[in-house]
């Protein structure tokens, strides 16, 4: 009998460890509900060894001080929970059947998430747990790397929802550490130095390029426009030579006229007119030098004097450029003014183009340091009788004006 008993006992001991594994394991909700019959805090046996006692004690303390019965389950995330994870509080309440707070904390890796439902008996007080959680401003700041902070906070929220007690402050240790404001990193500072340099360099580069470019253009313009000033000596001199030649021709023509005897009144008038113009031409040549306006005026007056003394008809100069051939054609100028013009200038005007005209230097630029070549008719008429009369093309009183001006100077 003892031998049989011993054999049976040893056999039972041998198979004892294998029995639970072989037995049909209940579903997680059934497992948890069964465990809650003895303890309202269920910790999955696979996690039990790794959950620190401090965490468990904190949860138990919160459960004891809660306004409602609390059921807590701590379990790992497994495929068995995949589909019922969010329904677990409801499924557990259906199995337990008692009012209270049902909290399920699930760990996945090192991340804890909590799902809870508050079931209460009929009454006139209380708020919805979701409403209280929504009002809890710090709920999103609670750490998720430990189970106790979220579970304890949920129990506190449920107590507030149940009897309206004030929600206590979250312990600092349960809150995510605030990230220290480290300011700009070394890379940020380096980038900022580069950007500042880029800005300064960009402005400098732009300013330098514009200054150098504009100076060069001004220089080239000066060189180009300065041809009359380097060569104004050439152009003005040429006009002066032509004027002097014409003055000589006019003097000869007048000398021929003077040698005639028995001059008619008309011839005497012509001689006087020619002398008047010749004197004005000489005055222009004597007064100023290197002035293209004066040289051109002298050329026009001498040419007219020579023609008058020779008995030819008086011809007005070309309004646009008095050094051109005389203005034998009439063209419309601005404000319905008709001016005499040489054939090339007249044809240009008829083509609705402005003839280049007699170019004279004029001050320009902000400080008036720049010399710019402009058509003479753009100058102030007050400054020159040649401009005022269009070299006699607009009014045939150039000689008188020059003589009067000469008298004023005297």
């Amino acid at each position: 009998m003892p031998v049989r008993f011993l054999t049976a006992l040893l056999a039972a001991l041998a198979f004892l460890p294998a029995l639970p594994a072989a037995a049909e394991t209940p579903e997680p909700p059934d497992r948890i509900a069964a465990a809650w019959r003895t303890d309202h805090l269920f910790v999955d046996e696979r996690l039990r060894a790794a959950i620190p006692a401090t965490e468990v004690d904190r949860i138990r303390t919160a459960m004891r001080t809660a306004a409602v019965p609390v059921y807590v389950a701590i379990t790992p995330r497994t495929p068995a929970l995949q589909k019922i994870r969010y329904d677990l509080p409801t499924l557990l309440h259906a199995r337990v059947g008692a009012p209270g707070l049902y909290v399920v904390a699930v760990v996945d890796g090192d991340y804890w998430s909590t799902n809870a439902e508050l079931y209460r008996q009929a009454g006139l007080r209380g708020r919805d747990l979701t409403s209280v959680r929504g009002d809890d401003k710090r709920r999103l700041d609670i750490v998720s790397d430990r189970p106790a902070p979220q579970i304890v906070r949920t129990i506190q929220q449920a107590s507030t929802a149940f009897d309206g007690r004030a929600l206590p402050a979250v312990p600092a240790g349960d809150l995510e550490p605030e990230r220290p404001r480290r300011g700009l990193s070394v890379t940020d500072k380096s980038d900022r130095a580069v950007y500042v340099g880029l800005g300064v360099g960009g402005l400098l580069g732009l300013a330098l390029t514009l200054v150098i470019g504009l100076r060069r253009r001004g220089g080239s313009k000066r060189t180009h426009e300065g041809r009359p000033t380097d060569a104004p000596a050439v152009d003005t001199h040429r006009v002066e030579l032509r004027a002097d030649g014409k003055i000589t021709q006019a003097e000869r023509a007048l000398a021929r006229l003077d040698r005639r005897r028995n001059k008619t009144t008309q011839q005497l008038d012509r001689r006087d007119d020619a002398y008047r113009r010749l004197d004005a031409a000489r005055a222009l040549r004597a007064d100023t030098t290197d002035d293209v306006l004066a040289a051109a005026g002298a050329l026009v007056l001498a040419r007219q004097a020579e023609r008058i003394a020779s008995g030819a008809a008086l011809e007005p100069p070309c309004f646009f450029d008095p050094t051109h051939a005389p203005g034998t054609a009439k063209v419309d100028w601005s404000d319905e003014v008709e001016v005499p013009a040489c054939q090339p200038c007249a044809s240009a005007v008829r083509r609705r183009k402005t003839p280049r005209g007699l170019q004279v230097p004029a001050r320009s630029g902000l400080l008036g340091h720049d010399r710019k070549q402009v058509p003479y008719w753009t100058l102030d008429p007050e400054d020159s009788p040649m401009v005022a009369t269009g070299f006699g093309a607009l009014s045939d009183d150039l000689a008188e004006r020059i003589t009067a001006r000469k008298d004023e100077v005297r």
Partner: protein, 215 residues
């Protein structure tokens, strides 16, 4: 009868005492070792929905080395604290048989060779909705016979903590500021010069048009 009771107590102490001395009291290890006594595959009851047992057993039987598979939950909040190869090693130590011990959770597969001269991959990741047998097959594809590794017991203790690497803190000095600033100035000069050139070209191109318009 008293002798019998003493014998019984001694046996129970011997069984539980020796077991706790070699491996931690981890229900996953106990259950896996118990299951491996009959077949080299243990599936935690919570994972039975994702396990294709027959196909997985076929993969195990087709392997060139003895393979023991445990499909269990693991992670940072289990006794192994995220060191899954150590969990495999503890399972191997508890089982005591040479072989390749593979721990799976449906997403990842970790392994440890115990008294076996093979190279086993540290871990493999499963693709989406990949069956357990396929995951195991892919893990075993990475197992290579090694001439250089001598058979030795799998690791059952945590690795020694790695010394924390410290790096000299990078500082932003005046020299760096000047260097970067000068570099920026050079680049800016080039950019500003290009921009100025474009402005001058556009101005030069538009001048004849203005003259024509005025004429």
């Amino acid at each position: 009868m008293r002798r019998l009771l003493l014998l019984l107590v001694a046996t129970v102490w011997l069984l539980t005492g020796t077991a706790s001395a070699t491996t931690p009291a981890d229900p996953r290890i106990t259950a896996a070792v118990a299951a491996w006594a009959t077949q080299p595959l243990y599936v935690d009851p919570d994972y039975s929905s994702v396990a294709d047992r027959a196909e997985t057993l076929q993969v195990i039987s087709g392997a060139k080395v003895p393979v023991y598979v445990a499909v269990v939950p693991f992670g940072e909040w289990f006794p192994e604290q995220g060191d899954i190869p150590m969990l495999a090693g503890r399972m191997a130590a508890a089982n005591g048989k040479p072989g390749l011990y593979v721990v799976m959770d449906g997403d990842r597969s970790y392994g440890a060779a115990h008294q076996l001269g093979v190279y086993a991959p540290s871990w493999t990741y499963a693709e989406r909705d990949e069956s357990l047998s396929k995951q195991l097959s892919e893990y075993l594809d990475g197992v290579r016979a090694s001439k250089y590794s001598t058979p030795k017991p799998a690791r059952t203790a945590p690795l020694p903590p790695e010394p924390e690497r410290t790096y000299p803190k990078e500082k932003f000095t005046v020299g760096k500021a000047i260097g970067n600033g000068v570099g920026g100035v050079v680049l800016g000069l080039m950019g500003g010069g290009i921009l100025g050139g474009i402005v001058l070209i556009v101005a030069a191109l538009s001048r004849p048009r203005r003259r024509e318009g005025r004429a």
